[in-house]
Symmetry: C2
Subunit: 218 residues, 2 copies
Amino acid sequence: KKLVAVVGLGRLGSEVARTLYQLGHDVLAIDQDEQLVQDLTGEVTHPVRGDATNENVLRELGIHNYDVAIVAIGTNVQANIMVSVLFKTIGIPYIVSRANNELHANTLERIGCNKVIQPEAESGTRLAHMLFTPEAQEYMELTSAFGISRIRVPDRFVNMTLKESGFTGVRDKYGVAVLALKRGDDITLSPDGEDRLANGDVMVVVGRDELVGRISAT
Amino acid sequence: KKLVAVVGLGRLGSEVARTLYQLGHDVLAIDQDEQLVQDLTGEVTHPVRGDATNENVLRELGIHNYDVAIVAIGTNVQANIMVSVLFKTIGIPYIVSRANNELHANTLERIGCNKVIQPEAESGTRLAHMLFTPEAQEYMELTSAFGISRIRVPDRFVNMTLKESGFTGVRDKYGVAVLALKRGDDITLSPDGEDRLANGDVMVVVGRDELVGRISAT
Ligand SMILES: Nc1ncnc2c1ncn2[C@@H]1O[C@H](COP(=O)(O)OP(=O)(O)OP(=O)(O)O)[C@@H](O)[C@H]1O
Ligand SMILES: Nc1ncnc2c1ncn2[C@@H]1O[C@H](COP(=O)(O)OP(=O)(O)OP(=O)(O)O)[C@@H](O)[C@H]1O
């Protein structure tokens, strides 16, 4: 159980704050916007309205006791940088901040942020790579040509076994292997070749990009 | 080689447009903001300044010939929805749009968007899950409490076998299973319990979040 402070409760910050709270951590969520703070009532430990560029406000909230601070302010680059510097000054051991572009990211790293994320750029890259594999829901790169994809079972495989559908055994990296099969909340790891696919099933597959891409090709 | 139109060249749209162009596709990138359009000169096929809520503008640009259209307008929900509806009306075969929240996502799906993404929320969830697994490089959710993580081998496991390190067999979802082991560009799927870990190895593991989190705990 860790103490995490999240500043900026826009689309990114509210989701980080909520998820961390669900994972069991103590979450202090700060925003200048009263409505956004209200929206998180019951969904984080401590939703607080405040201006995070004000060092007194941060100290009164006990920020110096926190394990991790996340700066999720987006568009307002000046505020984003100021708050990051304040967290560094106050001495928070691990600081995550978001950046809008490479120069901004560079600046945050020089300030001493431990992790800098560019959420939209990461999503944009991911979307571009998954766009022409329509059933693809998620992609995790292993090498530039080989990755793990989470895909919805294509219609034409419904009611066929994994083997009949052309999937290879889990150790074969020259075909497309199914690492996991998800049916609702139920997960089977390294499913058997004789397992039969149902409509709505989600598969986690691994293989060379072109081969995985062909799964959805009709 | 596909024809892709991207509307909205903010942080998400500019990255999608650039990446698709690098992947070899024909990219039409539209924004009302002249500067953002200029910034993409040479980085996409056809950067154009225009108001995408104007059907004539879209038709003059030949949008009806496109394979895919991506609505990357964010904050302006009204414009985002209007452009999505226009693309549907014009008959683009595959439409991706972004949403700011669940209700917005629901609306876009009802309009007929083929794929709806919430980039910040996805990044937020991912960040929350990876925050306390410092070696975590990537996370793919399977259920809210169970996911696949790509992690750098923790120092204390170097030179130990997978079995000695406490990893379970690939079918056991009550422990943490290693789905793949990457050493440089070399990938072993479902590695053997007797395989020995080396410094710099990257593992793809699956298991309940708390158990995976403990891997990095010292
Ligand atoms: N000084 C500040 N103190 C506290 N909160 C702040 C401060 N400055 C900005 N914020 C908050 O940060 C939040 C996120 O910033 P903003 O909306 O500008 O970025 P965004 O990129 O649109 O965010 P997202 O993409 O996560 O929705 C806003 O809700 C805003 O009220
Ligand atoms: N009707 C329109 N026609 C063309 N472009 C538009 C239109 N409306 C908005 N845009 C553009 O969409 C882009 C992205 O929208 P906006 O900046 O509001 O969202 P955002 O959520 O901050 O984006 P991001 O997170 O990707 O940076 C802006 O550059 C804006 O000029």
